[in-house]
Symmetry: C2
Subunit: 340 residues, 2 copies
Amino acid sequence: MSSRSTPLGEFDLIERFFKTGADALRTNVDQGITLGIGDDCALLKRPTNEEIAITSDMLVEGRHFFADADPALLARKALAVNLSDLAAMGAKPLGFTLAIALPALDEAWLEAFSKGLFAIAKEHSCPLIGGDTTAGPLTISITAFGSIPVGKAIRRSGAKVGDDIWVSGMVGDARLTLAALRHEINLSSEDLQQIEHRMHQPTPRVELGVYLRDAASAALDVSDGLLGDLRHILKQSKVDAQIQLDQLPKSSVLKKQESSIQNLFAACGGDDYELCFTAPSSQQEKIQGISKSLNLPLTLIGKILPKKDGQARVYLLDASGALLSDSQAAPFLNSFDHFA
Amino acid sequence: MSSRSTPLGEFDLIERFFKTGADALRTNVDQGITLGIGDDCALLKRPTNEEIAITSDMLVEGRHFFADADPALLARKALAVNLSDLAAMGAKPLGFTLAIALPALDEAWLEAFSKGLFAIAKEHSCPLIGGDTTAGPLTISITAFGSIPVGKAIRRSGAKVGDDIWVSGMVGDARLTLAALRHEINLSSEDLQQIEHRMHQPTPRVELGVYLRDAASAALDVSDGLLGDLRHILKQSKVDAQIQLDQLPKSSVLKKQESSIQNLFAACGGDDYELCFTAPSSQQEKIQGISKSLNLPLTLIGKILPKKDGQARVYLLDASGALLSDSQAAPFLNSFDHFA
């Protein structure tokens, strides 16, 4: 938490845009932050019957967002993707640090960015407690902290043979938005308007994560595409899975696309930030109750199967329940690779 | 903690270079890391009588290091600057997360980087517990965690009028190395060799920080130049200070430079990562004892004075104890600004 500074330079900027907002937020929350921004470290104190969940995500210009991205939405998303990781463990947000590299001191940009940041921070009672600012290519690195009763964290390794596989919300709209922005697919402006918030303003499923502590056997958040992410659960739980492609929850806009695009975007499109989780069938009623309480669709999309071999296998079924042929399944097997 | 991946791409890389080293280290330490790399979050569990210190620092290519920097030294430094922040609070390292943007998948670079990283992590029993990898301009963002008994953290706000001001080790050599590498100053290769580790491999004063819990009234680590950093203590403690320039601890190599350069580099050169701290005069004997135990020079360089006005004032004294004139003091008043 260094702050290379002159009186009228960087340090003032940090004070003005970040510390003030952080202090304002801290007065509204009491979650064990005994010292916030302004010292060498922040200090956090939690009871012994809790574990602290810790996650870090970095967003880079040109890779995760366009250079002209709305700074307020960008700030929201940078925190949202970290809150989504907390949600996937069942953790309740406690606070976060922000390390940011900025190409220039653009006050209007910083004001919009910090407003967006503190808005989502307030929605989730998750104060900014420290960080670092430097000059450099625009890069946003957030580390977020959450609390969870000891032993209640939902790990990726807990899926059991016979468990149901669920996904929250809708999947594929962020990918469809990207395709429209890249002019790969034509969408009417009404349709685009209806779904683009799914790419620019993902909703971290924080409340759902807390409810799932007592229902799910494994969970993760879908950031890189449902099937690719599901494989992390399969690998760590040492199981396989079958997924009914036509069961994937899709928006009305996505449903207007041809069927192959629908399934591909829903199954493999990134940036959904929904939770994919497994649970014993005995939990179906409870899960439907959670869905009702949160007014959030939770959809049963498949089953956990015994492991066949060293691979983490996902068997894809069509609407009739028949297994897709290898050539039909091939397009679904490639997930996103940052370096590809 | 996302991990966009294909089986042979990024995820394998993370496993190979980071998870393996992290797992190897975790078997040697038991500090409440109940879950490490590989899930949505890491989990940390600590006793109620402790606070957790949290700090984030980001290093950017071209700003904090040269493009051809030795990856092992770079990794060491990236963790060292965070450990230095923990030290400045008196915290004992618990673990860290690493978010890194890489321009390419260069295996040799990654191997050297991860070796350097795990070497310093092991020296300080500070395991890697999570993080993120992405493509992008080389940027290293670390968040480190430390433990400290409740109420024992050394804050910047604790300096009192009459306290002594101390600094550990030597100051100015990192700045002198930079001047030599930039050909602003000519150094013999022997002299350069003797001091360049001070720029490339700063030593975080972790043990000193723990000892100072019971001696210091305020502390911070000197990353941006002694005088500029000291002002953060003055501002937060609402006091002024006097510093005896000729008392600043300098290496024999720095002492070969002309006197104005000596004092300027020692007082304002960045990247020292020494601890500057204040303590009541009653602690002098104890502090000298700590210096002896650690075999580390601790030098009394000034005094805390009553606050005169709204500024955080540092009065500079020459060897005779006389106040420097305004024009003599002017070169010392500008600290480093990332955006200048």
